[in-house]
Amino acid sequence: MKVFPPVQENDFEKVSHERETQSILRPSLSYWQDAWRRLKINKRAIVSLWAVILLMAFSFVGPYIWTVSPSEQDLDLTSKGPFLGKEALVIADYEPWHHESERYVDPSLREAAELQSPENLKVFGVPSTQVVRIQWDAVLASDGYSVYRSESRPENINELGLPIGETNSFYKVSYEDRLKLSAKKYYYSIVPVEGFNEGDVFSTLEVDVKQAIVLTEALKINSHIKSGEILELKARPMGTDYLGRDMLSRLMAGGRVSLFIGLLAPLLYVLIGMLYGGMAGFLGGKIDILLMRFADFVVGLPFLLMMILFRIVSGVGPGESGIMPMLMALVLFSWPSTARLVRGQVLQLKEEAYVQASRLLGAKSFYLVFRHLLPNLMGVIIVNLTISIPYAIFTEAFLSFIGMGVVPPTPSWGSMCNEGMKTLLSHPHELLFPALMISVTTLAFNLLGDGLRDALDARMRSRE
């Protein structure tokens, strides 16, 4: 059993009267510091903030790093998926070519012969994506030949693939293929034709096609290149579109248009809405009723129809690029929601005790607005601005998609989606990338808006 020593007088310490009982332990934070602290612990919001910064850098700084022209067409490389550096053989410019059998055959001999599969199939020159030239020995009984192309080795007569051409004489024993060639293996089959009937025999030749570029085109890229040399083609990290334009640089250029509208339009109409709503709320009375009735009327207008109508009125026909009319229409028809919000806030703030007190102390309207109302409105307005951005980007994309916004050749993410839609079934990457950009942008701004709302909303603060 433990025995405690008796309590002595010097076990205690006398509390001095000077001890600070009112000291503030934590540093005092301003509203914005506090908001920033709250935003920083919100992981989703911070990730979104970085995404937004990266997107801006992608669109506005990117073109200085990736200097491929967004409007340069390359019809040799249409609708290609993403690829990094490719090499191409430089070949001489195209010249017509044909090859005929020089062997004279007595017609009576041909009458008697049976159809046989052509022999001695071979490639003339270098098979390239520009042209593949094949020739073969004449078949005695034939009156012409059909040429087929396939991407897999044909096992029987039903698997010959695409009929790409035919010749109409016994002597014409060559064919030149220039039809959308890619750098891969092809199987060319020749079927002799007797009269009008194709024979049931064929010969197949395997051809390994090389990526090639004609000299004239190659000289545009590198002025010292000679025929037969290898030219490094620029990489297309996001592939090319249906006209062979570089998707990456188009996405950057499109991003500039989309973000320009998506950022500037909300900035303008939130500003207008703020002034309008603030005025209505602050002045109150009859002016308030009148102003808000008008706002209600604008809200009642079917927004997208009016935007389309506005575009027609501004004299921008379909098929013309109308960035400015679209911007103006967005501003003209979107401000009332902000105006309503700000008016409600101002009406509330006006009755707050500190505003009343300030007024009682003789503060003028100007002072009240800039010292008390605006700083307290800022949070709501910033949140409103952030969630307006995805809405504006969506609207731009929608209008461009139905051909009523930005139209070719100016790229925007919406119009690129429109173009990508046409090749969706064969080359989905042309829709996928711009769609992804729109989605990531709207997602980032939405989540950032949510985070800002949590961080800036004063009512949330008391709950912590």
Binding site: F297, G300, L301, P302, F303, L304, L305, I308, L309, F310, I312, V313, G315, G317, P318, P390, F394, A397, F398, F401, I402, G403, M404, G414, C417, N418, G420, M421, L424, L425, P428, L431, A435, I438, S439, V440, T442, L443, N446, L447
Partner: protein, 311 residues
């Protein structure tokens, strides 16, 4: 209540009148000539055409005739499609859009209420996270992307089964409508889910729910009769604007899926600068949307007695 309804009807009619007027004057300010194409070859033909379309009268007269015709439900005659009246276009194409829209709205509301309620019940558990992930996706992805993906999906499914399970394009049977309606409803569904979640969260722990639980009511009955019913109210308020969103969203879905609806007619008319059709369809659409919002407001007044008191 009657006063409230009358007030709403009057306000709506006034808005429709303003829209019609604005559309008329705005369309007459458009630079360009509706008869500029090949039709008016000689001055005589031109004069006759002007007369038959009423373009020779002063603007004020034209406006009066236009208003009179509108009031009688006559939306005019197309400039580019010979002898085709806007009413004819409406009669042919509006039912298609309406069926599509109603189906999409059903999808959106049922889905939105269900998913939203589920996320609130399983707050901060995995069903909440999974559903909210898709909801945020649904809000962030434009509907034309969904339309494209939907088509791709049908194609893959058809290829997998080796026969046409579902048509990729066109209109006619119920199977044609399924995918477009789903795509059209997705955005609204995501929006409603989010709204339903927050409204359900407010209801989940109210006094009356606790009372119901302490009475020994089953979980399902509490969910159905006490929580869902009260949480669903805010959904009704936003249905009006959402109907508008679905209608305009229809433009895209009809375009992608090749559906002969009114949205496609509108887009075509805009591309061809068919003034009367644009005017007629704008006024028709506006009137339709304004009336829809009005109906929703009135219905809400019946459901929620608090609204009537405020009005």
């Amino acid at each position: 209540m009657l006063r409230y309804v009358l007030k709403r009807i009057l306000a709506s009619l006034l808005t429709i009148f303003f829209v019609a007027t604005a559309t008329f004057f705005v369309m007459h300010m458009v630079p360009g000539d509706p008869l500029a194409d090949t039709k008016a070859t000689t001055p005589e033909i031109r004069a006759q055409l002007m007369e038959s379309y009423g373009l020779d009268k002063p603007l004020w007269e034209q406006y009066k005739i236009y208003l009179k015709n509108m009031a009688q439900g006559d939306f005019g005659v197309s400039y580019t499609q010979k002898n085709r009246s806007v009413n004819n276009i409406l009669k042919e194409h509006f039912p298609v859009s309406a069926i599509l829209g109603v189906l999409a709205l059903i999808f959106a509301t049922l889905g939105g209420v269900l998913w939203g309620a589920l996320t609130a019940l399983y707050r901060n558990k995995w069903p909440d996270y999974v559903i909210m992930f898709f909801v945020i996706l649904g809000i962030s992805v434009p509907n034309f992307v969904f339309a494209g993906l939907g088509q791709l999906l049908i194609l893959k499914v058809n290829a997998f089964f080796g026969y046409e399970v579902m048509p990729v394009l066109g209109w006619g049977t119920f199977l044609h409508m399924l995918m477009p309606a789903l795509v059209l409803g997705l955005g609204t569904m995501a929006f409603l889910s989010r709204l339903m979640r927050s409204s359900m969260l407010e209801v989940v722990n109210t006094e009356y729910v606790r009372t119901a639980r302490s009475k020994g009511l089953g979980q399902f009955r509490i969910f159905w009769a006490h929580q869902l019913r009260n949480a669903v109210l805010p959904i009704v308020t936003v249905l009006g604007p959402q109907i508008a969103a679905i209608t305009t969203g229809g433009f895209v879905v009809e375009y992608v899926f090749g559906i002969p609806g009114l949205g496609r007619s509108f887009v075509t008319a805009v591309h061809q600068l068919d003034y009367t059709v644009i005017m007629g369809l704008t006024v028709f659409y506006s009137a339709f949307l304004i009336l829809m919002i009005m109906v929703v407001d009135i219905v809400y007044g019946f459901i929620d007695p608090r609204i009537r008191v405020e009005a």
